[in-house]
Amino acid sequence: MPAARLPVFDSAQFRFPGKEDGFNEQWGDAYALLLGAHSQGVLDAPVTLLTRGAQPGEPGREIETIPGVAALNPVRFKVIAEQLWLLGYFENKPGPDSTGDIQATPEFQKAVARFQQEAGITIDGWAGRQTWKAVSALVNFETTTEMGRWKRRDGIFYRAFRRAVQLRLWAYGLAEKKPGPGFNAIPSKNLERLKKALYSLSIIDHYNREISRETLFSILFDPDRLVAAAGYFKPVKKPFGGSSDTFRDKIDDMEEHKSILEIKRRFLVNLAKTELWLLGSDIQIDGADDYPVEGLGVKRTGGFFSKAATDTQTAEYLLEYWRKLSVFGEMEARKTAKSITPSLFRSLVQPEEINTSGLPVFNESDYSKELVAEFERAPDTQVLVARSYVEGKGLGMKLWDGLKRVWAWIKRGIKKIVSFGKNIFRAFYRFAMKGFAIVKTGFSVFATSMDQYLAGRLEMSNDQAVMVTIKRDMDYQIWINDTADSRDLMAAKRSVQRFGGMFLFSCKIIGFFVDVLKTAAGGLMGWAKLLMVLVKSYRELIPAYRELMHLV
């Protein structure tokens, strides 16, 4: 367990604009906390745009970037390094203590440049937004991967994509190893296994005929489809039902049957592990076939239902899953957790199957309030917040991957998903990160507005035609030249509206943030105070932020 400790907050190192500057101490506190958090990389902001009516992480919603809040910070660099290792661009896995400083190492820059080259993007060795997006599309389970994007003009898939295929095959137990530095092509036997796995789940109709790689890969990169199909898996049909007529044919059929059965079981075990990982557990994704699957009783080393199998992490998290996330009693939970069943996959798609139905629809920002209440009820809130920080920082890819799944449960009113794995810390840290991004954006937009105010005129697309000057007391004078036409006037109108909106909503964000900081920190100190305030103000910040995002 990592020590629940936040970095030291030393207010003395920041200059507080205080009363002598015309500001009160609360403003100074907010200003210093935010600057300090930014300069020390306390929180990384997920760069997501909250489109109108969308909930972050909501299935089916495109995650986009916020203009102006582009800087990737330490958490992201660490995650990118791990993702590049998974794709085979690093020989060794980055250590748990690696920091954002990794970005400055030649090894990292070389790996990034090689990835960029193999992914068909601009090669500069810098892990910016484009690289982050490309790596995520290949490695994250919940990010949409468009097949067409990864094909070169000659119809061959980019090597970075081929690496991602091999990685996913390995994660699902269909390849012996993940891609390494010398990776080039996906071994054909791995693709044969994939075909058999998909055939065994009735996703494709045959495995011994040609199927386009594009079709196979598009299924492989669609975990929702795989899980939905796994919800109805059955034992493989008995052999001898085909057209074989010789004894040799029958033996071959039997061997084929065993081979498919083994692949199917291995695939289901690892699909279950992956889903448990995405839901928030610490389970290792390792491709191992180490857990019983209902109805697929081929003996393995250690034997079916062996002690060795039930001692695994899979056993631990399956039991936690059924105990915490279903209405089952202890006995039933234990019984169900003894093997991987179709009901597990069905419940992942439809949690209502194993939970109380008819629950009220739940809203993400409302949930932030509940989370705050839960933290404040804890005997030592400061320690809990500090632990959320430490655990949150250690989540790596899970900070971005798996959220759609967790959110799908919360939206259905099944809040107990938060009690699974480390989700409570994940949720708190995520809200704090997002709140931080919003407040930073608020300050940035306010500063941009102030630039125009100080310049004494609003930015216009054609200021030879129309000029809008702004006086110190925020009165306007509009100067329309004889040369102006209606398009100039409409453009000027939009500029004026944009300025007023940006000013209003950024002020709202800053005002609310400062207000909460001043009145509702609940005796917390240092960074813990900032984190709590960000989560606490999240719900109220969202409406102003959405308005702001329509303008910038």
Partner: protein, 114 residues
Amino acid sequence: LEEKMGLKDALDKLNNAIDDLTSLHVQTFTGKVTFAREGKTFDDVRTAIETAQGESKISLVAESVFKFDGDSYNFVTSQEGGVPSSALELHKASIDSGIKTRQGLMQMVKGVFD
């Protein structure tokens, strides 16, 4: 961010302006003003406008004053066919924008200066 948040001067100025925000005044002028495209500063703009005013090249075509005690004053010229509708829309948008800036300041002051 630090650079962006280096707002002290702006906020000082704004802080001093808050006393004057009890009214909103928007004026729209039309006419012939030429601004040099290169090396243009706000003072250059101001000079160009003042020069144009002095030479009677520009004229006030719309004016609105709103006082927060409820008084208001609106003027729209009727000379030479009045004001083009798109210019009036710009004038109205500026009033709305001016109201928003005041609302924004109220929101921020609520948090910062309470």
